[in-house]
C-alpha cells in the first residue's frame, strides 16, 4: 500500500499493461484502481463482460482480450481512474482520459502531458473530444503522443498561448 504514502502508484503496484500486440489492434481500457473501495459502475457498464469483480469492494480486473474498447467504463468512472490506451500503425500512441477542467479542450489543441506525479513529460495534440455536455460534464479527451509515453501520461493541461 505504498501508493497511499505517495498519492500516485508506481508501475509494480499497477496491473500489468496489455501486450503490445493487443495495444496495436484497437484501444483498450487500462484501470488504475488498486485499492479495494465500494465502487462498481465500470463493472456494471461493461457490455463485453471484460471487467471482473466478485464483490463491490474488489478492485476491477480487465480481461484485455475481451475488452472491445467501447469506452462505456471511462464515461462513468467516478474516480477518473480509467485510461484508454492504443498504439497506432504509424508508430504514434494515443491515450484517452477524463477531463473536467476549464478551459475545455477542442480537437487540435496543444497540451502539456503530465505523468502520475504531475510532472510535464512532453507535448501532445488533442485529436478527438467527447464534449462535456454529452457526458454529464465529464469530457473525454484523446491525445496523440509518443508511443512510449502511453504508459505514463495520465493528465493534460492546455498550453498557455
Amino acid at each position: 500500500m505504498k501508493y497511499l504514502e505517495r498519492g500516485y502508484a508506481e508501475l509494480d503496484e499497477l496491473p500489468p499493461f496489455p501486450s503490445e500486440e493487443r495495444l496495436k489492434k484497437k484501444p483498450v481500457a487500462y484501470i488504475e484502481c488498486p485499492q479495494p473501495i465500494p465502487c462498481s459502475p465500470c463493472y456494471e457498464a461493461c457490455p463485453a463482460n471484460a471487467i471482473k469483480m466478485e464483490n463491490i469492494n474488489d478492485p476491477p480486473v480487465v480481461n484485455y482480450e475481451k475488452c472491445t474498447g467501447c469506452m462505456n467504463c471511462i464515461r462513468v468512472c467516478p474516480g477518473l481512474a480509467i485510461f484508454m490506451l492504443r498504439l497506432r500503425e504509424d508508430g504514434k500512441g494515443e491515450v484517452t482520459l477524463q477531463y473536467e477542467l476549464l478551459p475545455w479542450l477542442k480537437k487540435g489543441d496543444k497540451v502539456e502531458l503530465l505523468n502520475r506525479k504531475g510532472e510535464v513529460v512532453g507535448i501532445g495534440i488533442v485529436n478527438w473530444v467527447l464534449p462535456p455536455e454529452r457526458n454529464d460534464q465529464t469530457s473525454l479527451v484523446r491525445v496523440e503522443i509518443d508511443a512510449k509515453l502511453i504508459y505514463e501520461v495520465r493528465a493534460v493541461r492546455k498550453v498557455k498561448e
Partner: protein, 528 residues
Amino acid sequence: MVKVVDGRLVEHPILKFNRGKEVTIYFNGKPIKAYEGETVAAALYASGVRIFSRSFRWHRPRGFFCAIGKCSACMMEVDGIPNVRTCKVYVRDGMQIKTQSGFPNAEKDFFGVMDKLIDRIFPHGSQYTKFNNKIFREMLISRLRNFAGFGNAPKVEFSGNADYEEIECDVLVIGGGPAGMSAAINAGKYGAKVLLIDENPNLGGQLVKQTHRFFGSAKHRAGTRGIKIAKILEEELRKIPNVDIRLETKAFGIYGKIVGAVEKSKLLRIIPKKIVVATGAYERTLIFENNDLPGVYGAGGVQTLMNVYGIKPGNRGLIVGSGNVGLILSYQLLQAGVEVAAIVEAMPRIGGYFVHAAKVRRLGVPIYVRHTIIRALGKDHVRGAVIAQLDDKWRPIPGSEKKIDCDFICVAVGLSPTHELLYQAGCKMKFVPELGGLVPLRTKFNETSVEGIYVAGDVAGIEEATSAIMNGRIAGIHAVIALGLGGEMAKKELKESLRDLEEFRAGPFGERIICGIEKCILAKEVEI
C-alpha cells in the same frame, strides 16, 4: 483559467450559477453589491470582507468558517437584531448589517491592540493562572467578560406572530439531507403521514455542494454527481402526496411526545408517532498557532462558498487532512481555478480513496504524509503557513519546517455528529471514536434507546452519503412497520435494505464503521 467577476465565478466546468436580482446591502454603513439568493456572509466575502467579528477577550480578528450555521464566527447585527448568523440569512435590498464587537467596528478595532499588548504581559489564559489572589483574579475575569460583550440588545420590538400551529403526523423527519429524504420517501411510500423539516431553504443537506460523481453501485446511483442525487431524491419525495415538507424550519427540542420547532417566525407544536433524527454533522477544527485567523476555514465552508454561491475562496489554498473531504475539496478548488499549494496529512498514509488522491497528484498537487500544520501566518488574514514533518511519536521534527505560500487554509480533519437533539431527548449516548464522537446507541434498525426515535446519516456516525441514504431507508421502513403499515412488502424491503448496507460496508473502508457500530449496538433487538 476560470473567469471571475466581483469575486464571483462566472463559469465552472460542472456548475451553472444562476444569480438572482442585484441588490445593495449596507455593511457598517458602506454599500455592498449582492445578488438575491446569496447569504449575507457570502456576499460580504465576495466583496472582500474577511473580518466578521472579534474574539471576546483579546479582540482577535475572526472570519468566515463553517458557512452552515454551526460556528459563531459570522454573528452580526442585522436590521437591528443582534447575534444573527449571517451565513444563514439571505440578502434583501437595503439590509443594514453591523459588526457587533470591536470599536468602531470589527474590521478596524482599536481594541485589537489588546491582543498584541496583553499577549506579551499576560499570555492567553493567564488570567486563570497568574494571580494567586482569588478576589483580584475573579474581578479581572469578570471585567474581561464584560469587555467582551455579546452585541447590543435589540432596539426593535418583536413584530412576528407568536401563535403556534399544531401538526399531528405519523413520522417526523428532522433534517432534509440524504438520510432524512430517504427516510421520508420510504416512510411516505407505505402510506405514513410524514412531516419533513429542515433548517435550510432547500433540501439536499450537504449534497448540494458535492459536484463529484458518487461511488458505489449503479443501484445506489454511483457515477451520478451529488448535486444531481439531491435533485433525484427531492423529485421522488415531492411526488408522494402524504409527505409535508417544511423548509427554514428548526427543531429546537423533543419533549416526550411533542417536538418544538420554528418555521421562519412561526412556532410549530408537532405531535409525531415516530421521529427520525437526521441532523448530520459539523466540522471539527484543529489546534495550531493562529488557527482562529480569518482565512482558516472548514473544508465544507469552502465548498459551500464555492459550489453553492460560486464565490472564489482565494487564490492559493493549503489543505489540512487527506480524507475524502480534503481530497475532493482539492480537486474542486482546481476546477474553480484555485491553486492548491499542498495537502498535509498527519497519518503515515492518505486517509481517503487512492483514486481521489491520484487525480489531484497528477495535476501537480503535492501530498505530504506524516506532516502537520504548525502555524498560520499573517496579521489580519492568512498570508501563509508553516508545516513540519512528524516523528513516530507525533512530535514535529525540528528543522523540518517548511513555509507554504497560501492565502487560505482548509481544515478537513473530520466531522462530529450533531447529536444535541438526541441528547436532549434522553437517548443513551456513547463516545465512539470510529464514528466521529458522541453517537446514540441504536438497534440494527436504527432505533435509539428512546422508543420511537430513530437516527440515520452522519448523526448516527460519520460515514458518507450513500450509506446515509441506505440507513434512512432502514429507519423509515422500520418506523412504518412499527406503526402497523406496509405489510409483508415493507418487511421484505427492510431485510433487503439491511443486506444492501452490509454488502456496501464489506470492504476495508466499512471495517472501521462496523467496528464502531458494534460498540454502540443496543441490546434490545426488536424482531419484526
